[in-house]
Every structure is written in C-alpha cells, then in structure tokens.
C-alpha cells in the first residue's frame, strides 16, 4: 500500500511494560515499530471533543467482515466515524478481541515484581496502565472498552479456539496509522494477555509522528470496502458540522 507519510515531526521510544498518551491531530501519521520482535502495543481511542465517543472494536470488525486488523482497515468509533486508518502494515495481523493483561494475570504467569523492589523494572499490566492514562482525561473503568493489541496475532481454529501465534511479531515490523479525525490515544507496551513467554516480555516500541496526506477519493482505505466510503462520508459531515 502506498505510503502517505511526508515530514518526520517527532520520534521516540517506549520501553516494554510502560504507558503513555497523547492527542493526535487529524492528518498525523503515527508509525509504530516493533524493534526487537514480540512487542505488543495496547491502544484505545477517544474523541477529545466528546470523550463519550470511543473506539468500538465490534463495529470495526463487523463492518469490514474481519477478525484481524491490517492494511486497508479503518478503526471506527461507536458513532460511525473513522478515528484512523491503517495505511501501511508489515506485520499483517493485529488483535482487537483479547483485551488486556491484568495485575493478577501478570503475577500468576510471570511473578509479581513490585515497584518498591524493582523500581522501573517492575511488571506493570495493561489494565492498570489504561486506568492511569484514562484518569488523566477524567475517564475511569467505566470508559475502558475492547482495545487494539498491535503486533499481536491471535487466530482461531475451526471450532473458535483462540491460538496466540508468536511468529506474528517480527523484529522491525511497523504499522502506520493515519488519523482521520482528532483523536485521544491511550497506549501501553505491556505484554499481550495470551503471550506464553517464559519471562515477562519487556519489548521496546519506537514510534514516529509524520505529517500525512488526508485520504484522497481513491485512498485504498476509503475504497477497500463500500462501508469505509460511508465511514469517511460520516467524517466529512462531522468536520463540516462538528
């Protein structure tokens, strides 16, 4: 898929097991890079102008007839609008149905490493990470919904059984998200809740912010499905009316 990135505006790296948040303006492209392979980036999206509008994984999946997220897909809010679209993806499969790691899950699988003992090498979990970032904007546990897990591949067998595929996350893989409306982004680099690694996987993630081009009429994400054309039409109305 053709790149829509132009100027590099900012770059940074987040260690594994950490969390952060920012508001990305419409037209920004966020590139996430799995530096070492095996990374996971949990992510949630909200409309900063109306925090009751948030990422809706079921709407995203059913309107595009997909279980996985990859290039050509749009990420929808519960209001029928496109927060961002996946304009490039070298990983090929991202999960949005398995949710988050929790404190008890991390302790059970990898042992509990407290902050008191290990300082910043403690074993943080995805759920608590989201609660912290959400609270910075007046949001709480009632506002958390199904998140994206970038770089994590979970497929299903014929009977619906979930299978976590560690081969899904390769070193150097990246995914580019073009933001099609202003979006509050909460994210963490805590392990995927189904990661079977023997040790707490502490994988760094690089990210870059680029200036991007808005979706043209023939944009591959807009045209990949007729549904997405209508999603972009909803965005158009939103930007006309607010």
């Amino acid at each position: 898929m053709a790149t829509v990135r132009s100027d590099l505006l900012y770059q940074d790296e987040i260690d594994g097991g950490k969390h952060w948040s920012f508001t990305l303006r419409r037209g920004t492209v966020l590139r996430l890079i799995d530096r070492e392979g095996g990374a996971n980036v949990g992510m949630l999206f909200y409309n900063p102008a109306n925090l009751l509008e948030r990422y809706n994984a079921p709407d995203t999946l059913k309107c595009q007839y997909t279980f996985k997220l990859t290039a050509g897909h749009c990420l929808y809010s519960d209001m029928g609008r496109v927060f961002c679209s996946i304009v490039d993806d070298t990983a090929g499969w991202h999960d949005t149905v398995c949710g988050n790691s929790t404190k008890s899950m991390v302790a059970e699988r990898w042992g509990r490493r407290s902050y008191q003992e290990y300082r910043n090498d403690w074993t943080q979990n995805g759920h608590d990470s989201f609660l912290v970032e959400a609270a910075k904007y007046g949001l709480g546990r009632r506002d958390l919904a199904a998140n994206v897990n970038w770089f994590s591949k979970v497929r299903t067998e014929q009977d619906g059984t979930l299978v976590f595929d560690p081969e899904g996350a390769r070193a150097g893989a990246h995914v580019d998200l073009r933001f099609d409306m202003d979006t509050l982004v909460l994210f963490h680099t805590c392990p995927h809740p189904m990661n079977p690694a023997a040790e707490y996987p502490r994988k760094p993630v690089s990210y870059e912010l680029h200036r991007g081009d808005p979706a043209a009429e023939n944009d591959p994400c807009r045209t990949s499905r007729p549904e997405n054309g209508r999603g972009f039409a909803n965005n158009h109305l939103y930007h006309l009316c607010g």
């Binding site: 929808y76 519960d78 929790t102």
Partner: protein, 215 residues
Amino acid sequence: MTRQSTLSPDTAVYRKTVPAGDYWIHVVKAGQVFRIVDLEGNQAADTLFYNAADPAERYSAIDTIREQRNVYLGVGTRLMSTAGNAMLEIVADTVGRHDTLGGACSTESNTVRYALEKKCMHACRDSYLLAVAEHEEFGLTKRDITHNINFFMNVPVTPEGGLTFADGLSGPGQYVEMRACMDVIVLISNCPQLNNPCNAYDPTPIEVVVWDAAA
C-alpha cells in the same frame, strides 16, 4: 454442544414477553436461573450485564473470549466481568453457539454497514440509551453501553481472520439459560434490525424467564 434444561416455565417466578425493538432491564439475583427464549426463531437478543452492587463492573466480551479461549459462547461458558469475575454461567442451551464479537447495531453503524439513508432506523443502541434514560435508579449512561452478547446470532470466524454473518442456528422455541453468580442488572435490547438477513428482515419477540435458586 447443546443441553436441555430440566426447568419448567410453570415453576418460574417471573415471565415476560419482550417485543422486537423494546428493551428489558431487570435485576437477576445470585443463584437465580435466567432463560431467554427465541419465540419465533432467528431473533437476536442483544444483552448486557452489570454487577448490581457496582455497575462499573460489567460484562466484558473480550475477557470472556480470552478466558475461555474461544470466540463462541455456549454451555459451560462463564460470562466474565471487567474485573475478572464470573457473572453468570450458561447452564443450558438448545442452540449451540452465540456471538459476542458483533456488538449491537446503532443508527450510526447502520449508516456505515447499510446506507447513509438508514440513519433514522431504530437500532439496539437507541433502545439501550432509552433504557438508561428511563431508569436513572441504576446510574447508567452512554459510557456504560459496552460490548454485548448477541444471543441466537451466528457470526463465524475463519482461520484466515475473516468474519462472516451466517444463517442463525436458532429456531422457534430455542433458548439459552444461565445461572447468575452475583446479583446482576440485565439489559436486553430485543433487536429491531430490518437490514440484516440474519432474521429474514423480520424482528420477532423473545421471552425472558427467571427461576429462584431452589427451583
């Protein structure tokens, strides 16, 4: 897998028919058994659960899917909360499979899925929003309308990562039954969807039935 219930509606403490396009909100107590009957077949019952003592703890589709390691719901599935607690367990089911990936329809998602002109057609999330507005005693708002269960819906996932909407497995009189592990607020939108062939474009009533723990 299917399993018949041993309970008779004659011993129920509560029975009510919910027409298509209506909502139903009700507290089911720990230990009570709660049944939803698909009276005419291939109807979707879009259902949410909240801990009655702390509605900020609620049904979580993603935690339920992950903890049982399967995308389909059926007999033996424990319906998990956002806090990692079992809220209810499916104890009988004559259908064999229910969906929790597809979410509830909304006027906005109808514009995307079907046509921009569909925007004012009645949808499940409108029913949910009317329910929380008319029942302020529960303290719920739009932020509490999260990812639900679609009882009687069949949404197969392919190994390649596709999602399909198949003909329903349900039929007239089929039911699903669950035992509550805590006091739960049950919020159902009996789906009014007119655009989806899953119900042959004909939304129909459901029945809800509750038995006491001793039944």
